[in-house]
């Protein structure tokens, strides 16, 4: 906009934006403050947005507990593996579909689209997993949701944006289709690959319902499910508090520290990928 004068309204709008930012940030700041506060200050309800009685005891407890550390590294491994599997699946599904001359392409598109509208449901999916012998198998946390049709459409739209002339000249030079994918499409698709890598990684890092339904072995619990169980045990204390018992302060800061511990990795990653995922979301929105 070619305006260079500042109006009173501009400051009102800036003020609203500051408020919005505060609403988004306060819960995280409060959590961080609690995780760094002393038991004493927490019991007396003195902690708001800044830690009182600075200490790292809660983090020391978390970091010295084998259960969290193991779950953390298992979840990191899971996240990386499922991200790679999903990116591979998404690419090999999207790439052939950009060839308009490919026979059966329409039928394949229909087969894919139907799965977006009709889902068999929780129980049929569960029975399938059971039949496949995947219950309590660590693979169940990587395979069943390894292809998102929505993400595939985003990638396909991005591939459509790459000029056909590039691949046609490569075809004339005798390059195979594998080769064209590897040397032309993938190098040009870094933004969409970064976006989808983020989407898949966040989905795996944050997901807990598949583990809740399909995984009974605690050593394979992803961090979020472990966190869910911990929070809910502490929550029963919380309910008890209402009836007149006192909450142990360390449990409070420990709870906060565990939540911080399982949040920080994602919060460190997403701002760097922001320009990619905005572009990626827009591709999906404009095309379909």
């Amino acid at each position: 906009m070619g305006r260079n004068k500042l109006h009173f309204g501009d400051f009102v709008i800036a003020f609203i934006c500051v408020l919005v930012a505060i609403i988004c940030l306060v819960p995280m700041i409060n959590l961080a403050a609690r995780s760094l506060s002393s038991t004493d200050a927490l019991v007396k309800h003195e902690v708001y947005l800044w830690p009182k009685g600075w200490n790292f005891d809660a983090y020391k407890t978390v970091l010295s507990d084998v259960k969290y550390i193991r779950s953390f590294f298992w979840t990191v491994f899971l996240t990386i593996m499922s991200m790679l599997i999903s990116l591979l699946m998404t690419t090999i599904c999207a790439y052939p579909l950009i060839f308009k001359e490919l026979r059966g392409r329409k039928l394949i598109n229909v087969i894919i689209t139907i799965t977006m509208f009709f889902n068999a449901g929780t129980i049929p999916n569960y029975l399938l997993i059971q039949k496949l012998g995947l219950l309590n198998n660590p693979l169940v946390l990587m395979i069943p949701y390894c292809l998102s049709v929505y993400n595939m459409i985003i990638m396909r739209s991005f591939f459509y944006g790459i000029p056909d002339s590039l691949r046609e000249s490569a075809e004339i030079d005798g390059a195979s289709y594998f080769r064209i994918l590897w040397s032309i499409y993938l190098p040009l698709s870094k933004p969409v690959l970064a976006t989808l890598a983020l989407f898949y990684a966040v989905g795996r890092w944050n997901g807990y319902s598949d583990a809740l339904m399909y995984m009974k072995k605690e050593i394979f619990y992803p961090l979020q499910l472990l966190l869910y169980n911990i929070l809910n045990n502490v929550n029963s204390v919380e309910v008890a508090t209402q009836e007149g018992f006192s909450t142990p302060g360390l449990a409070e800061s420990l709870k906060a520290a565990i939540v911080m511990f399982s949040t920080i990795p994602i919060l460190c990653v997403y701002p760097w990928l922001q320009k990619y995922f905005i572009a990626g979301t827009m591709v999906g929105a404009v095309k379909e």
């Binding site: 906009m1 449901g121 129980i123 807990y208 404009v286």
Partner: protein
């Protein structure tokens, strides 16, 4: 005639061979995702028939005996089950509240952000507003406990400090519903605004310049240029939201619910989980799931039809 036909098929066979020789790599690539879809999306559809059958672990789904009342036993049972009726009501009510309150917020936020003239600050606000989208519902539940818990939560600490009564944000059904809606809006408004910001960016800038020349103020600019410019996007997203009114995600309600508020917090997805996977009532819960997806598709088709009638383009 016959020989001509023979030549034709021979040519055809040859061209199929040539065709496959050229394109086999693409089919090979497609084979794996197609196999995945067949196994993980289409085979489960076979199991849907247990909604009409008496389930047993030992027998194949094809040979299971039909359930009573021409197979509709479990549907009738579900509609006589107060827990299910409550879950159905809760699903619709919570989704409606999400729609009425949650749908306009990203639009308003995108418009406000578009009016913000301080570019660097705008980037910072965006980064901060996208953050909640990257938090899992378990983490958000953890955050909510720190904020809203009756005796230890930040807000209730402040309230009690000023001599007010603590508010049972999480432990009383009526309050819980609003906490649930608020957390949903909090988590998604920033992320959902991206698509509107993209639509606003696509509006012809000359329109704004012309309005400037005509001396249009901020309100008329928003009302006559920005809003009409993003109307198609709003309509499409509204249709999708209405079509999803029967849908129920699992992660959000399951993470946020607790025993004290189950009368309003139990939705279809969590009902299916507790009754089906935990309670092993497979036929009943498959029937419930089937009912939900059939009604869901009906809503989607209807919403799309209405939007076409109104002269907007549909989703497909």
């Amino acid at each position: 005639m016959e020989s001509k036909g023979d030549i034709g098929t021979a040519r055809n066979k040859q061209s199929v061979g040539v065709y496959l020789k050229k394109y086999w790599q693409l089919y090979l690539l497609l084979f794996i995702p197609m196999l995945y879809l067949l196994i993980f999306k289409y085979i489960p559809m076979i199991y849907v028939q247990i909604a009409f059958k008496k389930y047993s672990i030992i027998e194949s789904v094809w040979t299971l005996p039909l359930a009573e009342k021409n197979g509709f036993q479990y549907f009738i049972q579900a509609f006589n089950d107060n827990d299910f009726l409550r879950a159905l009501r809760n699903t619709v009510v919570l989704n409606l509240l999400d729609l009425v309150i949650g749908f306009p917020v990203p639009i308003i936020f995108a418009i406000i952000l578009n009016e913000l003239v301080f570019t660097r600050f705008k980037k910072a606000v965006q980064t901060v507003a996208y953050m909640p989208h990257f938090l899992s519902w378990v983490i958000i539940y953890g955050l909510a406990l720190q904020l809203f818990a009756p005796s230890t939560g930040l807000i209730n600490n402040i309230l009690t400090k000023f001599g007010k009564d603590a508010v049972p944000f999480l432990n009383d059904s009526a309050h819980w519903v609003w906490t649930y809606i608020f957390l949903g809006v909090w988590q998604s408004f920033g992320w959902n605004s991206i698509i509107y910001l993209a639509a606003i960016a696509g509006i012809n800038q000359e329109l704004y310049e012309a309005a400037e020349v005509d001396g249009a103020g901020r309100w008329s600019r928003i009302w006559h240029i920005t809003l009409p410019g993003i109307k198609p996007t709003i309509v499409i997203l509204l249709i999708m939201a209405i079509g999803n009114i029967m849908g129920s995600s699992f992660d959000r309600p399951y993470a946020l619910q607790n025993n004290l508020v189950m009368d309003w917090a139990n939705v279809i997805s969590t009902y299916v989980y507790t009754r089906g996977i935990k309670g092993l009532q497979f036929s009943l819960t498959t029937a419930v799931g089937l009912f939900q997806s059939v009604v869901g598709v009906f809503f989607l088709l209807t919403a799309n039809h209405i939007s076409r009638k109104m002269g907007e383009r549909g989703i497909w």
